[in-house]
Symmetry: C2
Subunit: 349 residues, 2 copies
């Protein structure tokens, strides 16, 4: 037996009424007699009637569902963001359809087509690390599809954007390392194409400059796939280790890279932070349990998801296109967990 839903017709037939009467009774229209209403409502309840949302969508030209595209779901930052997205969507009666690009712009494009041809009412996107051509998003947006970018935003498209203050995050983290006595700080970032990579690198170089440290390009590395490919991180670390003047600390500029760096350093038997200082962007709830504890820059992922969704729903439900779009830049949280080495330095200095 296939899943067969009860329709308004079934009720109408059973009660000897017309479908419109039933429809109106169900919607509690004032023009239906109380008796008829009662009759219909009770019968509907009894046979477990539920309106078919697809028919409704067709009629109302809206699906009450929003699409989400992220690089990967199984990532603490993104899963926390999706958690926030789902929360707001749920509160407003919207469904969330998720898909992942896996850092491939091809797959991102397929998902984009896929989702939009599915009649979603709006889209929340964190673009893939690989994407340089945003015409797909642009066209869609120009044709009237509400889009909100978060985290990895597309500056070329004028719509709502939600991001963290990447510059500040890495600036603060670099400063923290510097103030703790680290002299030669390397930075490992994700794809050069991502604005967040550039911003984070900028925060890093600014901090160095401010501390009177000369910026050394050989200490600034990029992983095109943001560490999704393990080998990338290994190569980056090995490159740093093979330098004539090795760095004494690393700042990892994304969640995936932080974990990756820690793992590679460990596999190379380089103790953190004794032989190599480390700080990084991370949203994993386990960093505090690492021994010695790791200082991190934590992004308000959940809130980012919530805000993105609020803005999107606002766009969807407003009659006229908004006159001005916002770019919300949330504050990242520098969580300092002092290790023995750092304590020693502070005590000593």
């Amino acid at each position: 037996m296939k899943f067969e839903a009860v329709t308004i017709k079934d009720i109408a037939r059973a009660l000897g009424l017309s479908t419109s009467t039933v429809s109106r009774a169900l919607r509690d229209s004032y023009e239906i007699s109380p008796e008829t209403k009662k009759l219909v409502l009770e019968y509907a309840e009894k046979i477990n009637y539920h309106p078919n949302p697809i028919a409704l969508s067709l009629k109302e030209r809206r699906s009450r569902s929003i699409g989400v595209i992220v690089a990967e779901i199984a990532n603490s930052f993104f899963s926390q963001a999706i958690d926030g997205i789902e929360s707001i969507a749920y509160q407003n009666g919207y469904n969330v359809i998720i898909s992942q690009s896996r850092e491939s712009s091809e797959r991102e494009g397929i998902n984009l087509n896929y989702l939009t041809s599915r009649s979603i009412d709006g889209l929340i996107v964190s673009v893939s690390a690989e994407t340089t051509d945003f015409s797909g998003f642009r066209e869609l947006f120009d044709r009237g599809m509400p889009i909100v970018f978060f985290d990895r935003i597309v500056s070329e498209i004028n719509t709502h954007k939600v991001t963290v203050d990447s510059y500040r995050g890495s600036y603060d983290a670099t400063m923290h390392l510097s103030k703790n006595g680290y002299k030669r700080i390397a930075a490992v970032a994700g794809s050069k194409y991502l604005s967040i990579s550039r911003d984070r690198m900028a925060g890093y170089t600014s901090a160095l400059t401010e501390m009177g440290i000369v910026v050394d390009p050989s200490l600034m590395l990029h992983c095109p796939h943001g560490g999704l490919i393990r080998q990338e991180v290994e190569e980056a670390i090995d490159q740093l280790l093979s330098l004539p003047e090795q760095p004494d600390a690393i700042i990892a500029l994304s969640d995936k890279l932080t974990t990756g760096c820690l793992r590679v350093l460990k596999s190379r038997n380089i103790s953190v932070p004794e032989k190599m200082g480390l700080i990084g962007f991370s949203n994993s709830d386990l960093t505090e349990l690492i021994d010695p504890p790791l200082s991190i820059i934590k992004q308000p992922a959940f809130e980012m998801g919530e805000i993105s969704t609020s803005l999107l729903l606002q766009m969807i439900e407003s009659k006229r296109p908004p006159t001005d779009f916002e770019t919300k830049s949330l504050a990242p949280q520098l969580i300092v967990r002092e290790s023995s080495r750092e304590r020693a330095m502070i005590d000593g200095g």
Copy 2:
């Protein structure tokens, strides 16, 4: 400007054809002349035509989307499972609509109504820790909705189920602790209502019995919300610590509980594994980075998601109801990471 999709009508009007001809041309029907086809196809391409899936769904009585209900998305086990679900769904042209119960059976019920009244073609569920009444699922299933349970399965409903061999996982882990010299091993499980909690407890008691250790009920604790509420875990640990005969090791029977126990032990300044042995179910990719490294029981979450989805799609796409349902029990992976204490014990004994 609202998002207005191009329809078959627009093409028909522009080309002076009927909608049926256009429809047939687009579907490459054999009864359309090559010229007309070419004309239609080129024009459709030009104006960026995409069929409206909602209209299609209405007609075909299927939405090509599946619903997923889990306790929480921002959890490494579930996010990995969702990753697997999305992978298979994507390959088969299905969308994934996610929602979370947050371990509340009320919210689970709302999501259930919500999703099914949304015309999903099937449902993948890991039930909430709180749920004892499965009539909602039962009725839905009996009315023909394909459902696959994974992880937290509902034994009362005869459908496909995908789980890990919980018994074996905790049996092996308990054995591991026992063989490493731990004598008084406590177990912290999730909700008593969940079959996985019971199975895991069973594996634990079997192992103890086999090692000739008397099972002590005061060492077997439950957290009704599976550790989603932090306080639960604190109370459990404190209860263990206040015992006249304290345990010397703990086995944590879920992802959330493993992290929770580690955190609470740390906050109570109890070093792991020197003062308290610990092993637990975990899917976090950071456990290997903890120092000293933590031994874990890892569930094949991604594969569970993949298999659940395959089974679901099979149910959805088969004409007749399957005659027999499978309960796939996957092998958990015991990942042993020897700590110094364990090494010492092995060397010494």
